[in-house]
């Protein structure tokens, strides 16, 4: 009898391969860091993005250019983007960055641009309650 397929934690090489396949503009810079660009709409500006894979903990994503405006919602205190609600378990250490973190970053940028125009965050989000 075959053993059930056990999903493995993707190593750095697997992450590099999958990210290059899906978003070839992201370049691996070593030390688990990728830098690339995303443009959420054809009319949008192009954003320079840095992804830091924390190797087990969830990856951190930063917008390098253009600088995010003061008061931008859905950011952590270090300036990284808050892409998912941890208690939803939408991300796990078995997730591929190219299949989760990068598409969610594009979505975040899409809603960020609308927030700049309208003052409303249209993306589905969980209200942050301070401890």
């Amino acid at each position: 009898m075959k053993k059930p397929f056990k999903e493995k934690v993707p190593d750095r090489g697997i992450q590099i391969f999958h990210l290059r396949q899906r978003f070839p503009q992201f370049q691996y810079k070593g030390k688990r860091v990728w830098i690339g660009t995303l443009q959420p709409m054809p009319s949008s500006q192009i954003y320079k993005i840095k992804i830091v894979d924390k190797g087990g903990a969830f990856p951190r994503v930063y917008v390098l250019k253009p600088k995010l405006v003061k008061g931008t919602p859905h950011l952590y205190s270090d300036g990284s983007l808050c892409l998912f609600y941890p208690k939803d378990f939408s991300w796990s250490k078995k997730s591929l960055i190219g299949e989760t973190i990068v598409p969610w970053t594009a979505l975040w940028l899409y809603f960020y641009e609308l927030w700049l125009k309208t003052g409303n965050w249209y993306g589905e989000s969980v209200e942050h309650k301070p401890n």
């Binding site: 070839p24 443009q39 609600y85 969610w104 993306g123 589905e124």
Partner: protein
Amino acid sequence: MKKIEDAYDEEDLEKSVEKWREIFGDEFPSSEEIRAQKVKASQTQGKVMVSSTGHILLEGEKTSGRTVKSPPQRFYGEEK
């Protein structure tokens, strides 16, 4: 009355929105806001597609090249 009928009968979404905004003013959502509502609904169902350049696509919208389906998620984080 004619303006309302025109807006109602308009099949092109953007033109229809323009006509409704002529009637109701800025209280009627823009085509961008209407699309954002659709993206939000698709976001939680995992139906948003993202092109290799990062363009956000709804079901039925086409692009040349590869796309990735964005898994369902909700944003969170510290409000500033």
